[in-house]
């Protein structure tokens, strides 16, 4: 049974992906700072309390699974935070918080996961961008800048680990039916969707579909790529 590590499983996309891979034959190690809001019913699911921005937390988690002989096949770096604000009224602390979670957290997880994947000469890493980056939407400067950084980290990592059997790819969802999107309001949501070739809210399954593609062994030569949902492009 292949093992997939998923961050941000307490709710939303991460929670749905944990259920998806749990139901599809993977051993799922789900990480979040707080317990999942709803039980994830799969005997092959295990939850770990990990703050991905805390290096010691991250290293301890990987040491624990290494001790158990678990060899991670895939890492899905879903955990992230967003902010909706004009640049001029965004506090520096918000930018720091967004970069700490989205960029530093993704970096730490990639770094430690790859250390183990290198040993097996096999691995799949999927990082999360957003259509906010290619669309350069106003009021999302800090968020989209963090996603740009994630894309850059991912593409360089794809090169560095190419000879170690590790692929690194990026999924860039548009608005997905999560609490995050519910809170932005209908007017803002319509504004975002109008900028997309396919002006529809994404489902969890849309995201899982792209992750599935990146995770399958046949995708061994797919690396450093970004797939935006809804037809957005740079």
């Amino acid at each position: 049974m292949k093992t997939v590590i998923i961050t941000g499983v307490s709710k939303g996309i991460g929670h749905a992906l944990a259920e998806h891979y749990g139901a599809n034959g993977y051993q799922v190690l789900g990480l979040s700072r707080t317990e999942p809001e709803q039980m994830i019913i799969a005997s092959n699911f295990r939850w770990y309390r990990v703050d991905i921005t805390n290096e010691k937390d991250v290293k301890s988690f990987f040491r624990e699974i290494r001790k158990e002989g678990i060899k991670p096949y895939a890492l899905i770096n879903n955990a992230g935070v967003a902010s909706l604000n004009a640049l001029s009224t965004t506090p520096l602390s918000t930018v720091q918080h967004i970069f700490n979670t989205n960029v530093n957290g993704t970096f730490l997880m990639m770094k430690e996961a790859a250390k183990m994947m290198v040993l097996n000469n096999l691995g799949r890493i999927v990082n999360f961008s957003s259509v906010a980056y290619p669309l350069q939407i106003e009021w999302e400067s800090a968020y989209s800048a963090s996603k740009a950084a994630i894309e850059s980290f991912s593409k360089t990592a794809a090169r560095e680990w190419a000879t170690s059997g590790i692929t690194v790819n990026i999924v860039g969802p548009g608005p997905v039916e999560t609490d995050l999107v519910k809170n932005v309001g209908d007017k803002r949501l319509d504004y975002l969707l109008d900028k997309m070739p396919i002006s529809e809210v994404n489902t969890f399954d849309d995201v899982a579909n792209v992750c599935d593609f990146f995770l399958i062994e046949r995708s061994a030569k797919i690396t450093g790529q970004v797939i935006y949902l809804g037809g957005a492009s740079q």
Partner: protein
């Protein structure tokens, strides 16, 4: 700490089917006739786990100069041992 470093180094040289070398402070770890950057990652994992098991301290052996030609802490067994002792002291 010397024993821990030398043991990890020897174990991985054997694992990678590399020639046996004399072990002293000047023995090359990373670089010419030493580990590649990918093999270095394997050594870091081995050492971080061994350090934790011995000291229960969580150390991170990444370093800005890790792959430096001139002053990598992974250049020789001597520099590596000094680097680890410093990291443990800081942890």
């Amino acid at each position: 700490m010397k024993e821990l470093v030398y043991n990890a180094f020897t174990k991985l040289r054997e694992e990678f089917s590399m020639d046996r070398v004399e072990l002293n402070a000047d023995t090359v770890v990373y670089g010419d006739n030493g580990f590649t950057s990918i093999q270095l990652v394997r050594l870091i994992v081995e050492l971080e786990d061994a350090i934790y098991n011995k000291t229960e301290k969580e150390v991170d052996l990444s370093d800005d100069a890790a792959l430096s030609v001139k002053n990598s802490p992974f250049a020789t067994l001597g520099s590596l041992q000094a680097f680890i002792e410093q990291k443990i002291a800081e942890a």
